[in-house]
């Protein structure tokens, strides 16, 4: 019987080889790949998110846990390719134009993947038209924008306006975050949600698609 708890714990400890080994053993036993993802990997990553939010683990520990999660995903993903992979949803993510900060955005990306979302990361310094193109091409459920500078926060508004102008505003939910961003600002620019940290961002994304 596959030990999902042991996989989640190895993931939380950031032990990539152990996660790989346990996931391989589970596959060997004939456990459904999607079950491994949902009941072990996502569970472990979710728990790391909570610990991070409570300041019980720190940024490097989240990064190493995410690496362990990917070690597990790498084993099961190829097996799931043919099946219709049921993800929690699709998110297009990026740091807005003029802003080169990537740490917060990357953490959000990891938490979203950890929560079962498919994440398309457009990177940093992403101009509004790139977000629009990605919405057209990838048809995400959510667009997530990050800004770490007061001077680049207005680019969030411009991006929302560009998505509106392209007639795509009703196709997606929009969430925003970053140190200077507030709930008020999010409301002002017409975003659908704001999250103060990476773990909350994953919760918010679930709410938005729910």
């Amino acid at each position: 019987m596959a030990d999902f708890r042991a996989i989640a714990d190895a993931l939380k400890a950031g032990n990539a080889p152990k996660v790989k080994e346990l996931v391989e053993a589970a596959v060997e036993e004939g456990v459904e790949p999607s079950k491994i993802v949902n009941e072990a990997l996502i569970v472990g990553m979710g728990e790391i998110g909570v610990l991070f939010k409570n300041n019980e683990v720190y940024v490097p520990e989240v990064l190493i846990a995410a690496r362990a999660m990917h070690a597990g995903l790498d084993v099961v993903k190829p097996l799931m390719a043919d099946q219709d992979v049921a993800t929690a949803g699709k998110v297009v993510l990026g740091t807005v134009k003029g802003d080169l900060h990537d740490i917060g955005k990357n953490l959000v990306g990891m938490m979203l993947e950890g929560a079962g979302f498919e994440v398309i990361d457009l990177g940093i310094d992403v101009p509004p038209h790139k977000f629009v193109e990605a919405v057209k091409k990838d048809k995400p459920h959510i667009v997530g924008m990050s800004a770490l500078l007061t001077t680049t926060m207005p680019a969030m508004k411009q991006t929302i306006e560009a998505i509106e102008a392209a007639g795509l505003r009703d196709e997606v939910k929009i969430m925003v975050g970053g140190a200077p961003v507030t709930q008020n600002f999010s409301d002002e620019i017409g975003a659908d949600g704001y999250a103060p940290d990476a773990a909350s961002a994953a919760d918010l994304a679930k709410e938005l698609v729910g």
Binding site: N55, Y58, V59, P60, L63, L100, I103, I124, D125, L149, T150, T151, M153, P154, P180
Partner: protein, 266 residues
Amino acid sequence: MIIIGEKINTSIKSVQSAVEAMDAKAVQDIATKQVEAGADYIDVNCGTFPFKEPELLEWLVNTVQEVVDVPLCIDSPNPKALVFALKANKNGKPLINSITGERERYNSILPLVLEYDTSIIALCMDDDGMPETADDRVKIADRLVESMTKEGVKLEDIYLDPMVRPLGTGSHYGVVAIQTIKKIMEEFPGVHTTCGLSNISFGLPARKLINQAFLISAIGAGLDSAILDPLDKKIMSFVYAAELLHGKDDFCLNYLTAFREGKLEV
């Protein structure tokens, strides 16, 4: 060590409310205390007010220079806000914080450096973002120093910032920062290096400890200016001790003076 006092920054909550209320007394109090604690420059930053930054930055300059004589470090990427502040400046040669190798930013800030004859903090980054290695940072520093001196900026007015990235996102970033400082100081004699201390510890617990250890290593590598909180007695004590250790305090006089003035905290 050239100390740039970082406390008048509206990303600090109490300062945000003081500036919002245009409480001159509160702002002046922070300025005076920082100078008494050893600040050579007073940084002024009201970037959290993007829509009235020019007016508020001008107000900050006027308010601060009513009570202190040290030059100001005018902290904004917004050329319009900088012009308002530079026009109001009456203290000594100001320091603009900051220019980068990004084309647009460089082209909008450099004319102000020349017109108002200021010193300038230059960040080692360009349109390709934040470089990964020390060598790539030094390459950007090289381009910045060369093009600015060609335009007439003096070497001693240039403060290069190595762009410190958090150890929490890459445990090699401490070494990268230290190497960058060392190479800059070796390759461009006459320029200054400066940086903030707190970025290095982002995402980790007990951050002060990391900031202090980083400061000491950086001073060892040649860092001769820092953007910090001079009211933090501990960090200032480490500045005196580290400068002494690295041969920058003849006859230990600065250290002894600081001790007699009660500025050292063990």
